[in-house]
């Protein structure tokens, strides 16, 4: 599982940057990271946001202050939950 996560590379089939790899995407995006997450660090999420911006995709990005590392997304964080709820409603 850890290896699968480590080896995942969204640009693998394109051998070009992330912006080009996300070029076919048509969806709107909400990207959320957690400050203490070392597995998918906020910096990686910011790269995704940049690539989506390069393609003029509609994207929002939130960086949730959290102390629970990668598992923070499993915790009942009121702000995180409110964001996802608001986004799904909108």
């Amino acid at each position: 599982m850890t290896k699968a996560l480590d080896y995942f590379d969204p640009t693998h089939h394109h051998h070009v940057g992330l912006s080009a790899a996300l070029q076919p995407a048509q969806a709107d995006f909400l990207v959320v990271s957690f400050t203490s997450d070392w597995r998918f660090a906020p910096g990686r999420s910011r790269e995704i946001v940049k690539a989506l911006l390069d393609n003029d995709r509609r994207v929002s990005y939130a960086e949730i202050t959290a102390a629970h590392g990668h598992d923070a997304f499993l915790m009942p964080d009121p702000h995180y939950h409110a964001l996802v709820r608001a986004y799904m409603k909108g």
Binding site: R46, L53, V59, A62
Partner: protein
């Protein structure tokens, strides 16, 4: 602002301006905010918002990737003014900066009372830093990229090596910035000389600020 423009609003707050631009001009808008509550407010309005700290600049944004970059009622709450103004001009084809008009008589009275001006539109909040960038920083001359000061009736602003226009009405001052086509390098700003009354006022405020800083140091 032309319809369908790609717009970046720095310090977009609860997204009110972007919502208006989306509805009135069909703008493709993105906001940048740092406060959690404002991120939520923008998402609730269905406004694109990106959570990041402007003080660190706009790394991750490509040069000239936006038609307009707006900094509305935010400059006065920032430390790193010159960086953000340079970044506006790097990322945007045109920049629009509005700041509270500290030359407006109500704000002047607040400054004379030794306070960071507060109004309905610009209330004091956790992100406002009254001691570091308050009236003196906007009113006094700055050596590098940006120079702004309030005059008795309007605000004048100079950007080294930039084309700009500035206007002021009541509570607000606004400037429109463009990269100079002829000279992209910084050159010394040429400012209209301050009038005597303004010079005295700037000096008074500077002295007041020094006193306040000294008392903080104690």
């Amino acid at each position: 602002m032309k319809p369908n423009a790609k717009v970046l609003d720095l310090g977009c707050g609860d997204g009110t301006l972007l919502k208006y631009l989306k509805e009135a001009r069909n703008a493709l808008g993105y906001g940048i905010e740092i406060a959690d509550a404002n991120i939520l407010a923008c998402v609730e309005k269905n406004i694109n918002v990106i959570q990041m700290d402007l003080e660190a600049g706009l790394s991750g944004f490509e040069p000239q990737s936006f038609d307009f970059v707006i900094l509305s009622q935010t400059l006065q709450a920032m430390h790193n003014i010159e960086l953000v103004v340079k970044e506006i001009l790097r990322v945007g084809r045109q920049g629009i900066v509005t700041i509270p008009n500290f030359g407006y008589w109500r704000r002047r009275i607040q400054i004379i009372a030794g306070r960071m001006p507060v109004s309905r539109i610009c209330p004091t909040s956790g992100t406002t830093r009254p001691t570091s960038i308050s009236a003196p920083s906007l009113i006094s001359r700055r050596s590098a990229a940006t120079t702004a000061y309030a005059s008795s009736s309007a605000m004048s602003c100079a950007m080294a090596g930039r084309e700009f226009s500035a206007e002021s009405a009541g509570e607000f001052s606004g400037l429109s910035l463009r990269k100079s086509l002829t000279d992209r390098n910084e050159r010394p700003s040429r400012l209209p000389p301050l009038r005597l009354r303004e010079r005295i006022e700037v000096r008074e405020i500077r002295e007041r600020e020094r006193v306040r800083t000294a008392s903080f140091a104690l």
